[in-house]
Symmetry: C2
Subunit: 336 residues, 2 copies
Amino acid sequence: MPEEINRQWVMASRPVGFPNEGHFELREAALPNAKHGEVLIKLEYLSIDPYMRGRMNESKSYTPGVQIGEVMTGEGVGVVVESRAKGISTGDHVVTRTGWQEYATAHVSAVRKVDSSVAPVSTALGVLGMPGLTAYFGTLHVIDPKPGDALVVSAASGAVGGVVGQLAKLSGCRVIGTAGSDEKVSYIVDELGFDAGINYKTENVSERLGELCPDGIDGYFDNVGGETTDAVMEHLATGARIAICGQIAQYNDVEQAMGPRNIRALLVAQAKMQGFLVFQFVQQYPAALERLSKWVSEGTLKYKEDIVEGFEEMPKAFIGMMHGANFGKLLVKTNA
Amino acid sequence: MPEEINRQWVMASRPVGFPNEGHFELREAALPNAKHGEVLIKLEYLSIDPYMRGRMNESKSYTPGVQIGEVMTGEGVGVVVESRAKGISTGDHVVTRTGWQEYATAHVSAVRKVDSSVAPVSTALGVLGMPGLTAYFGTLHVIDPKPGDALVVSAASGAVGGVVGQLAKLSGCRVIGTAGSDEKVSYIVDELGFDAGINYKTENVSERLGELCPDGIDGYFDNVGGETTDAVMEHLATGARIAICGQIAQYNDVEQAMGPRNIRALLVAQAKMQGFLVFQFVQQYPAALERLSKWVSEGTLKYKEDIVEGFEEMPKAFIGMMHGANFGKLLVKTNA
């Protein structure tokens, strides 16, 4: 019976540098059963996010890495097919940390019900999920933008960056985004309402930032690190706030990358650079989701999904993202 | 009449790399007169501080640089020899920004009276002046140490570092300092009460920090930048706070120095790195000086002065500091 099979993507070996398909292995496991207090979820969408690259390393990060032979880590949204938990019924949609697999069990305390009347359930992995919350807290709590601020966000067409820029616009900022293609730059300006965009692959980012932010950059939401961040550091306004969210430019480095020693810019500008993880704001998730949901349902907050069809495509989608191939929040539709 | 001559050190040319004596020129000017609201000060001590190197550059910093042919910038303490200002009498000791010269005029609004009964007037340039205030606000306001925190300070035997470590001890921290000689390391441990010291010239700083801070570094007061800061970044505890005060390791760089791209450490540790200038806390100077004065007069807060005799020695003293030759707060006694 095919229903009794649960397909899973496991990490076959640890990548050095960029991952390739050989680092993943498709495995078939028995369908799990929900224990007391748990639900069994048939997954419809699985999330692909940059942070997953860090989990493939052995070195210390903020949570333990994936072990060789273990199911790859990640979030998913799906429908409950068996419930042994109070308050959740068969047929409910839920989102939780599931790993890269077609079915998953989870304790009721770890799942969040998804209201499909607000927006498609897939948004629970994007604008109304971890990326949206990351943008929300990093922008509104770490950067704390003020009307009139010049705010820059890198990877601006991505799942996090697109929300950052729109929240900054709502806060009265002038918003500039960097992205890796003219199409992405057009999208953030024409669709999302950014004031300007810079194609970091074809333009001189520092020069353009100097032109676009003659009074300096007040806020910077950093998803990428590397040379884009170097360029921003040359244009900090007094009292600038930098939120460090991701450093994807370095996730696949084999050797320690070197860059200019530019910390003095923080001194001159009396600026703050702060690393944050969305988890530190967990107490405030419900209030943030309520606001984000309202803005999405009103159409105030726009989002873009890049949906890859088929569970078997997960490694390919992930590898593509590491090379900037996705456009919008990257999801895999399991078609299970 | 020798009283009518005011000797001044002017910047003769802009240094590229380390300054040498040729970048300074001794000039004789006429003795200035106090205008209405001003005092004329005969300077007794002039301060030599690392930040002055930045003022010799043409490039933008937080205040304009010294121009070629202009008197070098700096603070001094001396006795009022002529007063046309209310509230200040001949014979009073005052501290203000005077420049490198034997006499200076200043408006009453820019000077601070110094009470010689609390401590020697020279302390108005050190522990009870700008360096002490820098340590005070950087430690207590930027880092905000908590009892039990592991706090690291670089250039720990210096005018700022020594105060930082003692304030952190008062705050209940375990304190580790880095310095450039065994003598300086002994001083911070034996005289100032630090828990440990590291000689960055002879020891592996990262290894030693790992041993001394097995649970990570909660606070770091950075006076130097460069490799010492790289080492600290490898050992950040969750929620670490870094105060960027100075980057003397790079002040004499001719080319942009390169270092490891380690911003991701801020992300993993959810840490904050903040550049600050003491001036941003100007409203709180009186309250801070009151506390610092009390601690100094009680003997709770110790300090060390490195006093060079003779106004003509200023460039030599400044150049020596750039190579780490001073031990404690560097001052020049004018002997005027």
